[in-house]
């Protein structure tokens, strides 16, 4: 009895230790790559922060080390940005456009996704595929025909035109995310709601939206990011400073011919990047939950 116990115990110990060694190696390799990735992606923001805290003189001085601040930290670049440029106008315009676009996108895509994902009707499959196909057309191609449309509507050089055209980028993808999310909700839930006496609108507002909240947040973040960072459309459709948005405004007003106001550019880019950063930090968990929903059952 004891002899067999010893005989079986020995190989088992060897198996667990090899398993542990295997795991240690996997961890080492993952850490190496994670650190490499972190360095790779954090270098540009670091460079931006350092540059934005320098004086113009230090930035222009070719002999200094660009990675460190030698002459002391100064907030001059930020003061100049807020007082001497139209940065605050761009910021306000971007906020207005983004809020409107996110609201329009979410209303349209939640309703579209609910009807396409849950209410089987003739042609719903084709329509769902069609919506996704529109997402495959890049904005760098789309802006030419859209230019005609925006001009015909009299919205050229108005940020309200952006409120109209950004949803062509956000709605298809958000609808697609939401279709996937709604489809992952068990069918019995709508049936239970139907039997409980809910109509389709009540089913959507009382059951689907609360249950699919992680997906809705993920879609919201996506719509927010796209309209906050859009570049091609404002570049093509907006040309006066009072209508301009952050992305294009910062670049066009702070780069004059071959004069780059590096300090202000970096300060502007950092301030512009702050809102998405804050939103990501708060909603990251929801965002991940939303994007991976339906990947596994339950």
């Amino acid at each position: 009895m004891t002899a067999t116990a010893v005989a079986t115990a020995a190989p088992r110990r060897r198996a667990t230790s090899s398993l542990r060694r295997n795991r240690r190696w996997a961890l080492i390799v993952s850490y190496v790559f994670l650190v490499l990735f972190a360095i790779f992606f954090l270098t540009p923001p670091y460079y931006m922060i350092v540059t934005s805290l320098k004086s113009d003189a230090e930035v222009a001085h070719m002999a200094t080390n660009p990675w460190i601040i030698a002459d002391g930290i100064t907030l001059d670049q930020y003061k100049l940005l807020f007082t001497q440029s139209d940065f605050l106008i761009y910021f306000k315009n971007t906020v207005v456009v983004t809020l409107c676009v996110v609201a329009i996108t979410m209303v349209v895509s939640v309703l579209a996704a609910f009807s396409l994902g849950r209410m089987k009707f003739w042609g719903s499959g084709v329509l769902a595929a069609g919506i996704f196909l529109t997402y495959l057309v890049p904005d760098t191609l789309l802006f030419i025909p859209l230019f005609q449309i925006v001009r015909a509507l009299g919205l050229l050089n108005s940020y309200w035109g952006m409120v109209l055209v950004y949803p062509t980028l956000t709605v298809p993808f958000c609808t697609w995310i939401m279709i996937g999310y709604f489809q992952s909700i068990p069918k019995e839930l709508d049936e239970a709601a139907l039997i409980d006496g809910a109509g389709h609108m009540q089913m959507l507002t009382k059951i689907f939206i609360p249950v699919a909240l992680p997906g809705i947040i993920a879609a919201t973040i996506f719509a927010f990011t796209v309209s906050w960072a859009a570049f091609v459309y404002p570049m093509a459709f907006l040309y006066s400073s009072d209508q301009q948005v952050l992305t294009v405004g910062t670049v066009t007003s702070l780069i004059r011919a071959d004069v780059y106001k590096w300090g202000m550019l970096m300060a502007g880019a950092l301030v512009a990047a702050a809102p998405p950063l804050v939103i990501y930090a708060f909603l990251m968990d929801y965002y991940i939950a939303g994007l991976t929903a339906g990947a596994t059952k339950g």
Binding site: P186, E188, L189, E191, A192, A193, L194, I195, D196, G197, A198, Q202, K206, I207, P210, V211, L213
Partner: protein, 365 residues
């Protein structure tokens, strides 16, 4: 508080006929169980009663009213689903009261009804919890509570216990029966588990291939199955089916199972089988009717000797398996008299409970 009637109800999915013209009458307050193997059309039938599937042909009446074109919410039914289908973002209380809130029932009334249902189901302490914080059995109780508070005309259960582990299933089965005794309501219950069907039902509806094989009280189905399917489906372990030949000898008809084994047909059955003498048939005999010879019911003509293949002790009784005429047969014997595998054993067939099945029509004669 209503009766349910199905008249020639048909359901077709594209080319597949899931339910083939079934007729069923469920009187007020009766507990009816639809049972059958998966794909037999039992769930589809239930969903048509609920209004979750459209009827291809035929009529469904609830409380005398034709409901074919009524949406589920206007049929005054409540349904309990296999996976509970609780709203994950609502507490147990909110889950149970959701239907009442949609119907704009007064708040005090809602509270009273939910609390009463919670008392019946013994979940008063759980009303503030979300489904995630409940165990499988507790979720099932909340799902039943959601049905009870609505005070519907008909309860529909779609395999409500399949997701529970074996022990909890038995417990909840008793619970459902207890609830039905307290809250008298017409109930249609779907399951693939014949034990559940037998224990719960006032009447069992056995379905197969979209048709109703037989409708009857549990005991009736057990003792008087009409078809081979029902005979084999009801009862556990399943009835033995052994190819045989009905022969006439001096003392009366005998069932010839093999060269060595011929069982006498009891006098009460002889007249019924007169027309099939000389034909190849199938003998149906339940394991509990193949035992060791017992003094009280002993009839030497019904005894036969076999070599035991496999022995399965269950404690109270022991199952023995042996081969007759190339067919594996199961007997249910007293553990004290069980022999080991490979040994010969004398067994006794209780022929009073035998069935003869026509192999062509699959009907019990």
């Amino acid at each position: 508080m209503a009766d349910v009637a199905l008249r020639h109800v048909v359901k077709r999915f594209d080319d597949v006929e899931a339910v083939r013209a079934i007729d069923l009458d469920i009187p007020n307050n009766e507990f009816v169980v639809l049972v059958g193997p998966s794909g037999c059309g039992k769930s589809t039938t239930l969903r048509m009663i609920a209004g979750l599937e459209e009827v291809t042909a035929g009529d469904i009446y609830i409380g005398g009213e034709l409901v074919n074109d009524l949406p589920p919410k206007d049929r005054d039914i409540a349904m309990v689903f296999q996976n509970y289908a609780l709203y994950p973002h609502m507490t147990a209380f909110e889950n149970m009261s959701f239907g009442l809130r949609l119907r704009k029932v007064a708040k005090t009334e809602i509270r009273a009804r939910v609390e009463q249902a919670a008392r019946i189901l013994d979940i008063t302490d759980l009303l503030d919890r979300r489904p995630r914080a409940l165990s499988g059995g507790q979720r099932q109780r909340v799902a039943m509570g959601r049905a009870i508070v609505r005070n519907p005309k008909v309860f529909l259960f779609d395999e409500p216990l399949s997701n529970l582990d074996a022990k909890l299933r038995v417990q909840m089965r008793t619970e459902i029966k207890r609830v039905h005794q307290k809250v008298k309501t017409t109930t249609v219950y779907v399951t693939h588990d014949q034990v559940e069907a037998m224990t719960l039902a006032d009447r069992v509806v056995v379905m197969n291939n979209g048709r109703i094989e037989q409708i009857g009280a549990p005991q009736e189905l057990y003792h008087h199955p009409k078809t081979r399917f029902v005979a084999g489906f009801i009862g556990s372990p399943a009835m033995n089916f052994i190819p045989c030949r009905l022969e006439q000898n001096g003392a009366g008809p005998v069932v010839r199972v093999s060269d060595a084994i011929a069982l006498p047909v009891p006098a009460t059955h002889a007249a019924r089988y007169r027309s099939v003498v000389g034909r190849e048939l199938i003998l149906g005999l339940r394991p509990e009717h193949i035992t060791e010879p017992r003094r009280s019911e002993r009839n030497e003509r019904c005894e036969f000797s076999v070599i035991i293949d496999v022995v399965e002790p269950l404690g109270m009784e022991t199952m023995v398996f042996f081969t007759v005429n190339g067919q594996e047969v199961c007997g249910r014997i007293d553990p004290a008299s069980a022999k080991g595998p490979g040994e010969a054993m004398l067994l006794h067939a209780n022929v009073d409970h035998m069935h003869l099945i026509d192999p062509d029509t699959q009907m019990v004669l």
